[in-house]
């Protein structure tokens, strides 16, 4: 037994050192438990607080520290990568009494994608809402116990997303290929993790993504593959109707709703301009909800920001974007309750 314990500990130390030597850093997994912890905080928020929701653009582009520095309030980050914000907004409107500020990120390809419960963008968000409702006490304890391990150990790397560069045993085995592939269908390109997350779900793009164009290209390949594989037309009418209903309900009880369009470049900008045109989608949504709305292209300081992989801002640019955005919103009186006011 002593040999077993000693040898296994030694092996784990060696394993940890090996991956650190290969440049891996400890990281928090953006899983449903982490999301649920943030969601739970909404139950006790006041009118002064801010809740963020949307997809990965809100996750990357709004930096919580910057926001807090500018307003004195740390927002709750509920945005979910690759997901529609509709189920999460629906949950907050219908299952809480929250009457503070909600900022909803509008990534046109996801926001207007679907209301079909089994479709990916909807299901990814709805699964988290359901997990929050149904999580067991054992799951909560497991999450609490796992946080210090995730924060300090590299080899604790199982992720809900299943990144191609995860180093748990299953991911390592999944990266093995026999050469001649027997599959007939084209394969999804490798998707490497390109950000870091903290325990408050603040996401920052990795320096490698911002500075290494070859690495950023791997992420662009994934976006290209997703875009080319998507043959479903947007469900503009259904999604807008669904959202507007909740928006009216939220505003009627005194909530402060703000719509936000974050920057995109390259392929995404082209597609969004061509197939999800601002006048047809964004402006109609703003009109229907009668909410305060901010489109990055309307502001000189924001419209030329670059997204290294077409969809998200680098860390420094995200800090700048957040600070500028807060200033603009404050100047408009959109954030009337911020403490610095």
């Amino acid at each position: 037994m002593l040999i077993a314990v000693a040898l296994s500990l030694l092996s784990l130390v060696a394993w940890e050192c090996y991956w650190r030597a290969h440049g891996k850093l400890p990281d928090i997994d953006d899983n449903k438990d982490l999301w649920a912890v943030q969601r739970a905080k909404v139950e006790t928020l006041s009118k002064e607080d801010v809740v963020l929701m949307g997809s990965s653009r809100v996750l990357f582009d709004i930096q919580l520290n910057e926001w807090e520095k500018e307003t004195g309030i740390r927002p709750i980050q509920l945005a979910t990568a690759g997901a529609s914000p509709l189920p999460i907004f629906h949950d907050i409107v219908n299952n809480t009494d929250y009457i503070g500020t909600v900022i909803v990120g509008v990534t046109p390809g996801l926001f207007f994608s679907t209301t079909f419960p089994e479709a990916g963008p909807w299901k990814r968000a709805q699964t988290r809402v359901e997990h929050y409702e149904n999580r067991t006490y054992a799951q909560r304890i497991n999450h609490c116990l796992s946080m210090p391990l995730q924060k300090h150990l590299v080899f604790i790397s199982t992720s809900e997303e299943g990144w191609s560069d995860d180093i748990d045993l299953k991911s390592l085995l999944n990266s093995v290929s026999l050469g001649a592939e027997r599959l007939e269908k084209p394969q999804f390109p490798p998707f490497y993790k390109f950000e870091y997350m903290d325990e408050n779900r603040n996401v920052r793009m990795s320096d490698k993504t911002a500075n290494d164009t070859a690495f950023a290209r791997t992420v662009k390949n994934v976006w290209q593959s997703i875009v080319e594989g998507n043959d479903r037309p947007p469900q503009k009418k259904e999604t807008t109707q669904f959202f507007v209903e909740d928006a009216k309900k939220f505003k009627a009880r005194g909530g402060n709703l703000i719509l936000l369009r974050c920057p995109s470049t390259g392929l995404f900008k082209d597609i969004e301009s061509k197939h999800l045109a601002r006048t047809d989608f964004w402006q109609e949504l703003v009109k229907a909800t009668e909410a305060k709305a901010y489109h990055y292209a309307d502001y000189e300081s924001l419209k030329n920001l670059d997204c290294p992989e077409w969809s998200h801002l680098s860390g420094p640019d995200a800090s700048f974007f957040t600070a500028e955005l807060v200033k603009i919103m404050k100047a408009d009186g959109a954030l009337t309750n911020s403490k610095t006011n």
């Binding site: 037994m1 784990l12 006490y137 054992a138 199982t158 180093i167 299953k170 027997r182 007939e184």
Partner: protein
Amino acid sequence: MLFNSLSFVVFLVIVLALYYSKIFKWTGKKRMLLLASYVFYGLWNPPLVILLWISTLVDWTAGNKLAIEENQKKRKMWLLLSMFVNLGFLAFFKYGNFLLENFTLGLNALGLAYEPKPMDIILPMGISFYTFQTMSYTIDMYNKKIKPARTFLDFALYVTFFPQLVAGPIVRAKDLITQFYEEKKATSQQFIWGTFLLTIGLFQKVVLADTLLADVSDQVFGSKEMLHSLDAWTGTLAFSGQIFFDFAGYSTCAIGIALMLGIILPDNFRYPYAAIGFSDLWKRWHISLSTWLRDYLYIPLGGNRNGLTRMYVALMLTMLLGGLWHGAAWTFVIWGALHGMYLVVERLLKTKITIKINALNGVLLALLTYTLVNFTWVFFRAREFSTAKNMISSMLFMNPEGSKILHGFDVLKVLTLISLLFICHWIMRNTSMKEVSKKIHPVILGVIWAMLLFLISISQGSGEQFIYFQF
């Protein structure tokens, strides 16, 4: 709470520390174990602990009445009360929606329009296990096979003992309650062996079932396409391995944890994929359930005492209900029916053919048995009949143009692992892990143990449930 979770590690350390501390005497330790068992269960869904309490109270009362009551009619009433409560729980929580669906289908078939809302019922974890366990106590009391538990605490702990509460082994009262009468303490050898068994069980679950096999099985059975034969076979073989490692892994953990407390639980698996024939299979697979079904269903239905036809009917009924025990769906009934048919055919063949088993024909017959078992797993795993039908036709090489959905490495990985599993079961079929470990040098055993711990740690089990919890 799951064995493969951080919270369980903390829970077990606290329980062991309290159990081996000098704070409590034996009764205090049993109370602590009982409380710990409720916490273990309640951390999943606290209100459902009430079901455990009701089951415990009803069977404790029924057992005590049966111990003193001589009037046969009244004895039967107490037995029926116990069965009504326990089977009532099962019927409502596990089969409620299934019964409603079939009732609706029946009415619709008669031309009556009826569309009820599905009932939003949570299936209490492990309900099939603990209701069967506690019912065995009352039935044995009715048949005067055992004496009543000495104290309520002993009985409550028997119903709720956390290592085997949610997925067995289903332990008989005579085998467990009596162990609670006197103070138990694991010897150092027992404690080390128990820890080793816990490691083996976790390795089976976390590494073999969840990391190496689950994805392939999920991908194949989740596919809507007509599959290539190799993909269909690989997916089915992966599931055969996954369910074995998942369930045997849980049982091994349970036996190991109990042993760390000095409590001995019976084996639940004995290398089932090396079984020669189906009678042999059911002596090796989920032994505690198959013996339960034999003693409390097959034998009361007449067993082999009333002629061949009645025996075959009893066998089929037992296996059909055994199938339904696993899940409220017709696919499970078909799974049970196939096993019933296999057993009937085997018994028929045995009356006509006598084979002297040697190494060569033995391994071929074991391989044939395993192949036939795999066809039953298709119905067990498939959520819909259409999936099962497609899988079976692909496995019978009827879809040469079927889709290839698995990577070459996944196919190789599953086929290698399943071949090793079969060889391992064949080599071990007449021995035990304990016997084999005695022949291995302790240093080598320590190195193997370290490798298992290392692989468990770097796999970090993402599986959120053991498959058998849902049963």
